[in-house]
Symmetry: C2
Subunit: 513 residues, 2 copies
């Protein structure tokens, strides 16, 4: 079978099931039914505090085959997933499915559990490091299922992912399960990705290294969703949890891309009062923010909001009054954590509020401009941020597809060539985000506009910006690098890439090298 993007996908995938093919970015909108949540109601005076993770697993009646979930606000400093899986492994359990919003190099111990059959399934929105490599080599029994940030919330709410036990890494938690991320030695800020887990899991366990007396105000995840609380020595390594100050690139190529991008944004007409903006934490993305900031200051533009994982740079723009509010699903650095804690217009959002296509309107729907990265982008503007050109998993959508679908202007910024390989290609190794939701590609050598955006082409063709077709960019790259060899892969599907609505946009196949 081929889906609407021409991707070859089996109709049935062993360990995944029937495939519902991707039919277009907005084809699934309409009537939605969420799953009926099951839970056990609390008896007044019943205590929630338990002595250990083992106790919690036993109280939750963990069994072979169950799904346990985790969230990634502690990023590459997270101890919680490893601690829980270690205990699960010690208990001799098998066939466990891990639903982690993201998986990082720190989660390397998972590889061993994959090999021993303790873990046979993984759901994640982003996977990098040894676990990604193990999956790419076909070591996981069932194909990994990769979501977007909003799509994961959707899948949990719809019951496509049925979480038996959710584990919440809680920087601060009280004895009755109220959680916040703004206090404690592992303070990481907003806990947006954990919200659907807590609300829809049958059992929810808070793991904290800052147990405080009731109540843990300001409460981000409420006691009404938490069954048990376990205190541990440490939930994470602060060095991995938050980065220091995020820095703007100094690379002249990156700066050139950023400068052109900011000019393009201005010409688009969106850079006016009420402007809304999201960008990642990468150096070039931040450079775009810096140029946009200059333009906003120069033209006295008062923006509406910036959203996303929030960086200190966005906080600065907010504090200077360039944005009225911040929407935050996850804080990237300490400055963001502090701002989120102290300023009520630095507003939390759950993963569902952020990007779920199946609610009454996510924040991504209100974005004017989104700055995106790409590992590859093809002549149909389809973007790959899931696999390297060698086919190895090294990331995933995260909020890429969600913001691209929501934003009025979704711009991919990238160098034309990276590591001697062209970024613009005929056909991406894996489609993460469909081309119909990408409006512009900006490279140092030229800018390509999605042909469907005739309005934008009209506005830009009268300017000095180097507008050209995406095929021209591809040819330019190939002239420098040669046409890259097509990577050889096995047929075996090692990961299923679900679009935010749960349809299958692509699959990842087992690598050969």
């Amino acid at each position: 079978m081929r889906n609407i993007l021409g991707r070859e996908i089996p109709e049935y995938i062993q360990g995944y099931g029937e495939v519902e093919p991707f039919k277009g970015a907005f084809a699934s909108l309409g009537q939605v039914v969420k799953k009926p949540v099951k839970l056990e109601s609390a008896v007044p005076k019943q205590e929630k505090l338990l002595d250990s993770i083992r106790d919690a697993l036993q109280k939750c009646n963990i069994k072979d085959g169950m799904t346990v979930s985790f969230h990634h606000h502690l990023r590459n400093g997270d101890y919680v997933l490893n601690m829980v899986l270690e205990e699960i492994s010690k208990m001799g359990l098998k066939d466990i499915k891990v639903a982690a919003s993201s998986i990082f190099p720190i989660h390397e111990p998972l590889v061993e559990y994959i090999k021993t059959g303790v873990v046979t399934g993984i759901y994640a929105n982003y996977i990098s490091g040894p676990v990604a490599e193990a999956i790419s080599r076909g070591q996981l029994k069932n194909p990994a299922i990769m979501h977007t940030h909003g799509g994961r919330a959707r899948a949990i709410e719809a019951g496509d992912v049925e979480i038996d036990i959710a584990f919440i890494a809680a920087p601060t938690c009280d004895t009755y399960g109220n959680i916040n991320g703004v206090e404690g030695k592992s303070a990481c800020g907003a806990l947006g990705y954990a919200v659907p887990d807590a609300q829809y899991a049958e059992k929810t366990v808070a793991i904290t290294d800052n147990l405080i007396p009731y109540p843990a105000c300001p409460i981000e995840i409420s006691q009404e969703y938490v069954d048990y609380v376990v205190e541990v020595e440490s939930i994470g390594d602060i060095k991995g949890i938050v980065s220091g100050t995020t820095k703007i690139t100094k690379d002249p190529v990156g700066l050139r891309i950023a400068k052109m991008t900011s000019e393009l944004i201005q010409i688009s007409g969106l850079l006016k009062d009420g402007f809304s903006f999201q960008t990642g934490a990468g150096g070039t993305s931040l450079a775009v923010a810096a140029y946009v900031k200059e333009l906003m200051q120069k033209n006295n533009v008062k923006g509406s909001f910036a959203a996303g994982g929030i960086t200190g740079y966005m906080v600065e723009m907010f504090e200077e009054g360039l944005f009225d509010a911040l929407f935050d699903v996850q804080c990237f650095d300490l400055k963001a954590v502090k701002s989120y804690r102290d300023n009520k217009k630095h507003q939390k959002m759950s993963a569902s509020m952020y990007g779920n296509p199946h609610n009454k309107g996510a924040v991504v729907n209100n974005l004017d401009v989104m700055i995106l990265g790409a590992t590859e982008i093809d002549v149909d503007f389809n973007v790959n941020v899931t696999t390297g050109s060698n086919g190895m998993i090294m990331g995933g959508s995260g909020g890429h597809s969600d913001t691209a679908a929501g934003a009025k202007l979704a711009i991919v910024v990238t160098q034309l060539i990276k590591g001697r390989l062209p970024i613009v290609v005929d056909r991406v190794t894996t489609v993460t985000t469909p081309g119909e939701t990408i409006d512009v590609l900006v490279t140092e050598r030229g800018i390509a506009i999605n042909p469907s955006r005739k309005d934008l082409i009209q506005k830009l063709e009268k300017t000095n910006l180097p507008i050209m077709s995406i095929e021209a960019l591809k040819n330019m790259a190939e002239e420098m690098t040669g046409v890259p060899e097509k990577v050889e892969l096995y047929d075996e599907v090692v990961a299923v890439i679900e679009y935010r609505d749960g349809t299958v946009i692509d699959v990842v196949r087992k690598i050969k090298d």
Copy 2:
């Protein structure tokens, strides 16, 4: 049929259905399944702002027989219920069910819609004024169904009350449906009772008189739950929305009751660090708070939290450091609104988080002491706050049954005689709250302890407090007033009183006078 309290209740009630009889305050705890929420997902770039309430009703496809819901944070100043019902009536709709968390005298226009068959059903936690009278006289086609505050949240979440369209009175709302109650000319503070409506209704419409640009931070009800926004001139009369300063009683009888109550609380052993407390806004209840405050100051007690509808008096105790936090479902006065807006330890709670027995632990479960009122209390400690002794509906549980069930020490404070009628009776006209959840009755003439609280009796019998049996209090009252005549009522059931778990604890019958 008689339920466990000996109340005579039909097995089947016309317009209500099969009766599930009350089986005890904690009999229903255990496995819970919430209803699968239905909604229509938003299309990016779709607008939510509509021109009028009529537009909203049409867009929501309102039909005969549907259920529309309202919340009561604007109390006796609320215009929204009346505006919506007026439009529904003008559209010629019939057989509409109104699910309002409370109904006040300002909702008198509803009486006409009841008479004309526009409205044939009412769900509410509290009903006073002309609508209560109309129901008591049998004018509503189907029996009214009365919940507790927590029970209403449970019923909505379980699908026992299926809301087709929820109307949220929004003191501040942005163009994409984010709502807060802390800004705007109709600012009323926390919006806790509206949260289950927004989350579980098929359609949700925000009605606001303070439409602001996106986003309306701090967001209390999120865009992800709101379909449409309508701007109106005014959502309410500020004089009815918030009272001025709530005042402590000056009546010596009330003060005597309050003083004894505070002594009892101290003797109970609960008045120590971590103490938690809730009381209503009545003069005697506030007097209890005043005496408790003195004791806390004297004994240097650092309390955990106060909860409930929050009054300025509780805010003062909080600001003086007597409580670490406030849990607020509804602000009673401007001082509470301001504190809720400015202090992050003045914590919002939804109706479900407040009192729903079918979640993983409501705030009421953590209450040490709850101060309650009573219209009548019988020798089994069953309390009536729903009907007057003439059988007329004049209130309802609100949070009465929820807090009584949750608190370690639920104390009813009342004068022994009111309006020449004894308050302690053989058998209350209507059971609102079951006696098993009431620990103590304090009157100016004596204190009765629930015989099940042997621990408390033991502690108190060595003190100077006038402890006696509840029968003794009843006899004392009857000696002064004579035995009141039993009120004559028709058999016809005009209201069904559901306990917080949805079982039927009592019914109200049509009055004869």
